[in-house]
């Protein structure tokens, strides 16, 4: 379907898509930009205010190639801040829809399905916050097999499906099961005391990264994940099994997940793990999930130190 007619401007086309209709309410104050984590952390050229301007000024090609069109993950931190109450992510989604229809493709690295491993269980379909995966039928060795496929323009690379996929059939470069387990101190003669899985979005500024890097490798091993929705309780147990004494999972505060629901998913998974370990009367259960808010710069040090104190390798100074 096409929204384009000769008389329609780019802005008309965007407004015709549900969610795009609030476009013209924008008076370019830029509050959205100041709230946006992408602009601060990933891509200085990311700018919702400017994208909305581009649409209104009929700058079609510029809008379709703008990183803003593709990188918005609908976290909606800007929505609550916008004085005009524009649901900006929906306007951006409308632009993205037109870009996809015009043949543009997402520059992000999407997840991929290994069909040899896929069971067609449909778990990825259910858990994805962006409706990127779907099931389809395909003939394999003369029989119809149900498999998963991914709409690469919808995938934001959060890794929630990767953690939920039972067989590691769905994966993305950098967050595959193999790449996570390779970072665990399996067979290490001197395992770190603490393994920290950290969602990079929960680190608020470069100073937080410096804090993480200030710990010696034999004390704290940091494993970066795109979102705590990627955490697999299996990996937490494997970290303990390989000799670490504690596991800390750091994610974003409730309502601040970059990928809409990753931190809720992580809360559920870590909660279930905690319950099972308690039922099991597991000795020295040092597994914790913490959620760091956008305003809590530097909290990561307190959380790591608290964990190290709990296992007795750091004296509590406070």
């Amino acid at each position: 379907m096409s929204h384009a007619t000769n008389t329609q401007t780019f802005a008309d086309e965007v407004k015709a898509i549900p969610g795009g209709e609030h476009l013209e309410l924008c008076y370019s104050c830029g509050t959205c930009v100041s709230k946006c984590m992408i602009q601060q952390k990933l891509e200085p050229d990311y700018n919702p205010r400017r994208l909305l301007r581009m649409v209104m000024m009929d700058m079609r090609q510029e809008a379709f190639t703008s990183p803003t069109t593709w990188m918005c993950s609908e976290c909606d931190l800007c929505y609550s801040a916008c004085p005009q109450e524009i649901h900006i992510s929906q306007v951006i989604a409308a632009v993205k829809q037109l870009a996809v229809e015009a043949g543009y493709q997402s520059p992000l690295t999407p997840v991929e399905v290994n069909e040899d491993l896929c069971s067609g269980c449909g778990i990825c379909v259910m858990v994805c916050p962006y409706e990127a995966p779907s099931l389809f039928e395909k003939e394999v060795n003369g029989e119809m097999d149900r498999l998963s496929q991914v709409d690469t323009n919808k995938c934001m690379g959060c890794g929630i499906c990767v953690a939920a996929c039972p067989l590691g059939a769905i994966s993305r470069e950098g967050v595959s099961n193999q790449e996570i387990t390779d970072q665990l101190p399996i067979q290490s003669t001197q395992p770190p005391k603490l393994v920290t899985f950290i969602c990079d979005w929960s680190l608020r500024e470069s100073a937080d990264i410096d804090i993480l890097e200030s710990y010696p490798a034999d004390l704290v091993k940091v494993i970066h994940i795109p979102c705590t929705g990627r955490i697999d309780p299996q990996h937490a147990m494997m970290a303990l099994d390989s000799g670490a004494e504690a596991v800390l999972v750091c994610g974003c505060k409730s309502g601040e997940c970059h990928f809409k629901r990753g931190n809720y998913v992580a809360t559920c998974k870590m909660n279930l793990l905690d319950t099972m370990l308690s039922q099991f009367n597991f000795p020295n259960k040092h597994i914790r999930f913490v959620q760091i808010g956008t305003q809590e710069r530097g909290r990561i040090r307190h959380e790591i130190d608290a964990m190290l104190a709990e296992i007795g390798v750091l004296e509590v100074t406070q």
Binding site: L117, S119, G120, C121, G122, I123, V125, M126, V127, C128, E131, S134, L135, R146, I160, A163, A164, P166, L167, G168, N177, G229, I231, D232, P233, Q234, A236, M237, M238, L240, D241, S254, G255, R261, Y264, V265, A266, T267, C268, K269, M270, N271, L272, L273, T275, M276, L277, Q279, F280, N281, F282, P283
Partner: protein, 324 residues
Amino acid sequence: MTVKSKPKLAFYWAASCGGCEISVIELGMHLVDVSEAADIVFWPAAMDFKYNDVRAMAENEIDYCFFNGAIRNSENEEIAHLLREKSKNLVAFGSCSYLGGIPGLANMYDIESLCQRIYETSPSLDDSRGTRPQTTTTMPEGEIKIPELYDHVKLLAEVVDVDYFMPGCPPVVDQIWKVFQAVLDGNLPPKGAVIGADTKTVCDVCPREKGTPGFRIKEFKRPHEVDLDPNKCFLTQGVICAGPVTRAGCGIPCLKGNMPCRGCYGPAEGIVDQGTKLASVIGALIDTDNPEELQNILDTIVDPAGTFYRFGLAHSIMSKMKYD
């Protein structure tokens, strides 16, 4: 031309319910085929053999020993060692032997509280003396000895080397027959393999309608609490199904009976820890931004450890670490 000697087979049960034995018996007429093509040299549940018959055998005299049941006491372990010594191939037969099975759920509790329950506080008990079994009891006629109960349930592979693992509670008849045929034809995969099962998960062969995008569980129900739609994925009906993480090969009798997969075929290929992986699946299906509501939803899961690790608790990382 040399006459090929018949392979020698042995069957044994350790800490098990007897279901694995029944499943072998259910081979029916195929059992006659097996007994014609092979010599059964030890099978306490079905034939009259004694431990001393095994002790008298030469090393590696048995070609294939199918060992069902977990290792719960010193007798189980002693016979595991004996059969290992006398067998060329030792097969952990059934979920108890391979994964700990239902007996492995006991690893959640310490042995003292288990014994207290069984011998002192169980409502069906009528014995105020608090009698506990002792390994040695002196009677007028002499000393009586019984095996020592271990503090936790061990897998067969924890006490001896195991060549093959065959899952199932019990292994289904079709798969047993396939494995026996492979044994008789000398056609088994390399050692260490899981036999008599597939590699992918139960979902791969489950014909039920799968979940749609954005499906979320708001309340978990137990199978008896719901009028279950026989055509829909159990998870989409709020009922926990271990199918996503469980190895296929059973022929899905439970699903056909409109009951969810309980996980008896153990973790599918590539899954390290069945229970935590299932938690990783189930956790991702819950959705709410309200922490209180989230806790309420999670509270509707009755006994997470026992449900997610129903047959594999003794095989779990947590059990391994606790009892290492």
